[in-house]
C-alpha cells in the first residue's frame, strides 16, 4: 500500500476532498483532479495505482478519458463512479474494461473492495509493462538484419526457409540467429517466440 497511489477525478470538489480524506485515513496516497485535462497533465509515476473516475465531467467525460489514456499508454485500472446510475452505462463501463461501477453514494466498504481488486490488477499490469519494456530495450540492440531474422523465427520459419527468403547461406542465418538469441537473452526458441508475442510482434506465418 505504501508504494501505490489512488487517483480521483470528479468535477465536484467536495467529493474529491471527501474521498481524499477517506482514502488517506485508510493509508493510501491520493491525488485528486477536478477535470480530465488536469489528470492527463499529471506525470504518472510507475507504481501501483488505480483511478476513481466520475463519468460525467465537463469537456472530456469519463469514457472519453479512458480512451485517451489507452492511446497515451497511461495504464491504470479504472473504477467508475456516477450519480446517474443506469444499467446501460454500467454495461458500457464494464465492457470498456473497468474494474467496477459504483453508483453514488457508495460506502467505504464497497470502495475499498474495488480498490483492492484494482491495485492487484495494477500490480500484474505493471509487471507485464516492465517486462515488455525490458524486451523492447533488448530489441533495440538488434541490427536491422537480426531484427528481420527475429521476425522470421517468431513466425516459426526454419533456418533453411529464412536462408532461401533472404537469399543468403544457411550458415549466415545460423550466425544471425545465435546473436538474436544471445541479445534477446532467450534460452530457447519458444521463449523467443514468447517475447515476440508480448511486444505484439506478428507471430503468424506470412
Amino acid at each position: 500500500m505504501n508504494n501505490s497511489i489512488i487517483y480521483v477525478v470528479d468535477d465536484d470538489a467536495s467529493i474529491c476532498k471527501a474521498l481524499s480524506l477517506l482514502l488517506k485515513s485508510n493509508g493510501f496516497k491520493v491525488e485528486t483532479f477536478t477535470s480530465a485535462e488536469e489528470f492527463l497533465a499529471f506525470k504518472h509515476p510507475k507504481i501501483q495505482s488505480c483511478l476513481i473516475l466520475d463519468i460525467r465531467l465537463p469537456n472530456i467525460n469519463g469514457f472519453a478519458l479512458q480512451e485517451i489514456m489507452a492511446q497515451r499508454g497511461i495504464i491504470t485500472p479504472v473504477i467508475f463512479i456516477t450519480g446517474h446510475g443506469d444499467i446501460p452505462m454500467s454495461v458500457k463501463a464494464m465492457k470498456a474494461g473497468a474494474i467496477d461501477f459504483l453508483p453514488k453514494p457508495f460506502t467505504e466498504k464497497k470502495l475499498l473492495e474495488a480498490i483492492t481488486l484494482a491495485l492487484s490488477k495494477s500490480k500484474v499490469q505493471n509487471k507485464q509493462q516492465a517486462e515488455i519494456e525490458k524486451i523492447k530495450q533488448r530489441m533495440d540492440t538488434l541490427s536491422p538484419r537480426e531484427l528481420e531474422v527475429f521476425h522470421y523465427v517468431a513466425q516459426g520459419l526454419l533456418n533453411k526457409n529464412i536462408a532461401s527468403k533472404r537469399g543468403t547461406s544457411l550458415q549466415t542465418i545460423k550466425v544471425h540467429r545465435g546473436r538474436v538469441m544471445q541479445k534477446m537473452q532467450a534460452k530457447t526458441v519458444t521463449e523467443l517466440i514468447g517475447f515476440a508475442k508480448k511486444v505484439g510482434f506478428s507471430t503468424t506465418p506470412v
Binding site: 467536495s14 471527501a18 460525467r56 446517474h84 453514494p105
Partner: protein, 404 residues
C-alpha cells in the same frame, strides 16, 4: 297586349292571323312553363332524395306537428320506416330519453319563431347511438305565418370519433411528456443530491477511520450520520427504479408522418395563436428506428417553444418545419421560427437541466429533447437565423448502431 286597328282590311286579316298565332304561342308557352316547373320540382325532389343529410318537413299548422315528408337518408339515419315517420310528431320518434332537455330547447326556439341549430346524441330505432347535427328552419307564408318546419340532420358520428381520437392522442402525448419531464426532473434531482450524499458519507467514514478506537460517543454519532446518509441514498435508488419503467420502444418510423401527426395534434394551439405552420418535407426520406412517442415529444417541444418565441410579436407568425437528407446516413429536421431569437448569453445554457427563460418553465423541455435525440444516436442544436428568429435542428441516423 293592345292591338291597334287600322283601316286596311288586309292588314286586319293579317293581324287576325297573327293574333291566332299569338294565342297558340301563349298556349304553348303555358304548357312549356308547366313542363319546366314540373322538371324543376323533379330535380329538386331528386336532389332532396339523394343528399346524405336526413331531411324532413313538419306541418306547422296541424296541432300535433306531424312529419309530412322525410327523405330516404332520414330513414336510413334513424332506422325508422316511412310508416313509422309520416304523420308522427318528430319528437315522438325518440321516445323519452335523457335528451328530452334538448327537445325542450328545440321546441322553445321554434316557438319563438327562430331556427334551431345544434349537435346532439340520438338513438336509432334499434337503440344504436349516433351523433347528429340538427338544423330546423321555418317556412313562412306571405303573411309571415309559419307553415312548415324543415329539418336537416347530419350524421357527425365519424367526425366526433376522429375528434375524440385526436384528443386522446394529444392527451397521451401530454401524459408521456409530463411523465418524461417528471422522470428527467427526478433523475437530475437524484444526481444533484447524490453528490453531497457521497461527500457526506465519505467524510463521516473518513472521520471514523481517523478516530479509530478513540471517542466512542463521537464514533456512534458518526455511525448515525452514515446510516441516515444511506437511508437517503435508498430513497433515491427507489425513485430511480420507479421511473426506469417507461423504456423506449424502437420501431421503423417515417419522420414526416411523425411531424404531420404532431402538427395535427397541436393545430388548435397554432391557429388559436394566429400562427401558421409551413411544412417543407422531403418525401423521399428512408425509414429509421425510433420511438414514436418520444420523437413526437421532441417535435412538440420544439414547436411549442417556437410558438412561445413568436407569441409577443404581431408581425412574426410563420413557423417552418423542414425535413431533409444529410449525407447518406442522416435525416435532418429543422424547426425554424420568426420569433424573438435566442440571446447570445443563453445559447450555451439552452440545453442544461433546469435552465429556462420562461417565468413558469421547469427548464426540462430542451434537455429532455436533447437526451431523446441522443438516445436515437443524433444531435440537437440551436442557432439564430440571420434575419429573424431561431432554428432548432436535429439529426437522426438512418441506421442506428447498437452501441450498448
Amino acid at each position: 297586349m293592345k292591338i291597334k286597328t287600322r283601316g286596311n282590311l288586309e292588314e286586319q286579316i293579317r293581324q287576325g292571323a297573327d293574333r291566332e298565332k299569338l294565342g297558340a304561342d301563349r298556349e304553348k308557352q303555358g304548357a312549356n312553363r308547366e313542363k319546366l316547373a314540373e322538371e324543376q320540382i323533379q330535380v329538386r325532389t331528386k336532389a332532396m332524395e339523394s343528399t346524405f343529410d336526413g331531411i324532413f318537413i313538419i306541418d306547422a299548422k296541424k296541432p300535433n306537428f306531424p312529419i309530412i315528408y322525410a327523405n330516404p337518408s332520414f330513414y336510413s339515419l334513424t332506422g325508422y320506416s316511412r310508416n313509422e315517420v309520416i304523420g308522427k310528431n318528430y319528437f315522438l320518434l325518440y321516445g323519452l330519453d335523457d335528451n328530452s332537455r334538448i327537445y325542450e330547447e328545440i321546441k322553445k326556439t321554434l316557438r319563438q319563431g327562430k331556427s334551431f341549430h345544434g349537435e346532439m346524441l340520438n338513438f336509432k330505432k334499434n337503440g344504436e347511438k349516433f351523433w347528429s347535427l340538427l338544423r330546423i328552419t321555418l317556412v313562412r307564408d306571405k303573411n309571415g305565418i309559419t307553415t312548415h318546419y324543415v329539418g336537416n340532420k347530419t350524421d357527425t358520428t365519424l367526425m366526433r370519433q376522429r375528434d375524440l381520437e385526436i384528443a386522446e392522442q394529444r392527451e397521451e402525448l401530454l401524459h408521456v411528456t409530463r411523465v418524461g419531464k417528471l422522470a428527467e426532473f427526478v433523475s437530475s434531482l437524484a444526481h444533484e443530491i447524490s453528490q453531497p450524499l457521497t461527500a457526506i458519507l465519505s467524510y463521516a467514514q473518513a472521520a471514523q477511520r481517523t478516530l479509530k478506537d478513540r471517542e466512542p460517543q463521537v464514533q456512534e454519532i458518526l455511525q448515525f450520520i452514515v446510516n441516515d446518509d444511506q437511508r437517503a441514498a435508498e430513497v433515491i435508488r427507489r425513485l430511480r427504479s420507479l421511473l426506469k419503467k417507461n423504456k423506449p420502444t424502437f420501431e421503423p418510423l417515417d419522420i414526416n408522418v411523425i411531424i404531420n401527426d404532431t402538427v395535427r395534434l397541436i393545430m388548435p394551439h397554432i391557429t388559436a395563436g394566429n400562427k401558421i405552420v409551413k411544412l417543407d418535407l422531403d418525401t423521399s426520406l428512408p425509414y429509421f428506428q425510433g420511438d414514436r412517442i418520444q420523437l413526437q415529444q421532441v417535435i412538440l417541444n420544439l414547436i411549442s417553444n417556437s410558438l412561445e418565441a413568436m407569441e409577443s410579436s404581431e408581425d412574426s407568425h410563420e413557423l417552418i418545419i423542414k425535413t431533409s437528407r444529410k449525407g447518406k446516413e442522416m435525416i435532418m429536421v429543422e424547426v425554424k421560427d420568426s420569433g424573438c431569437g435566442i440571446p447570445e448569453e443563453n445559447m450555451k445554457k439552452l440545453f442544461a437541466h433546469f435552465f429556462t427563460s420562461k417565468p413558469d418553465g421547469l427548464g426540462m423541455g430542451l434537455s429532455i429533447s436533447r437526451s431523446i435525440v441522443e438516445a436515437h444516436g443524433g444531435h440537437l442544436e440551436a442557432k439564430n437565423n440571420p434575419d429573424q428568429g431561431a432554428t432548432f435542428y436535429f439529426t437522426i441516423p438512418v441506421n442506428l448502431k447498437n452501441d450498448l
